[in-house]
Symmetry: C2
Subunit: 129 residues, 2 copies
């Protein structure tokens, strides 16, 4: 069957993921003091432009609930988001992005886009490398 195709696709995903992840970690970390997960959460916050529940973020970022909890904790410590109890369900926690968070995200966005463009535009090119 096209088992070959499946395996090749998988290897391609592995390769792109590794390269992108590694580059993002370096670039975002060095230039903006953000990890890929931190950036991704900020990105979702900006995209939705409203307070989000932890669980909502869980669905969108591919992270376990515990990991997400810690990411938000780090972001809060860095004053990039603020946490607050959800008044309608006091177990819930909503996360709101701060102005500083928006600024950091805006600053980091071009860097992230550049890395992704590098990888995924070079995709066709890098196959011949």
């Amino acid at each position: 069957m096209d088992e070959r195709f499946v395996v090749d696709t998988w290897h391609d995903v592995l390769s792109k993921h590794a390269r992108a992840m590694c580059a993002l970690e370096r670039e975002l970390g060095d230039k903006h003091g953000l990890g890929p997960s931190e950036f991704e959460v900020l990105d979702r916050m900006v995209a939705h432009d409203r307070k989000l529940r932890i669980q909502e973020l869980c669905d969108e970022v591919h992270l376990s609930q515990s990991a997400l909890s810690r990411v938000v904790a780090r972001l809060e410590k860095a004053a990039l988001v603020s946490r607050g109890v959800c008044d309608s369900d006091r177990r819930g926690v909503f996360v709101r992005i701060t102005e500083e968070g928006r600024a950091r995200h805006a600053a980091a966005l071009p860097t992230q886009r550049a890395v992704l463009a590098e990888i995924f535009d070079d995709a066709a090119t890098s196959l011949s490398t």
Copy 2:
């Protein structure tokens, strides 16, 4: 530009990678006592069907040299591969798969293929989910 395309592609890679990785970890771990990295190394060994240098494996698996060194150490402890000094270059270490290693790989292969097929055949399907 097709910045949209690049970002969407990236999210797709993230999603597939997360799902596949998670499933592989569970399935291979539970059924065969192997991590994804361990399996991948065994897979390369079988594919090449000869002793390989650590560095050669490094090029193929998307792992740092240190991570690979530990993976091989784990595999050796499990008697799935054996390490030996390269007589031509005594810094080098060649890795050879053992019979037990081949057996474990053969046993695990269908599991891995099933997971990958699940993810990448469902790819088109899951987009409409």
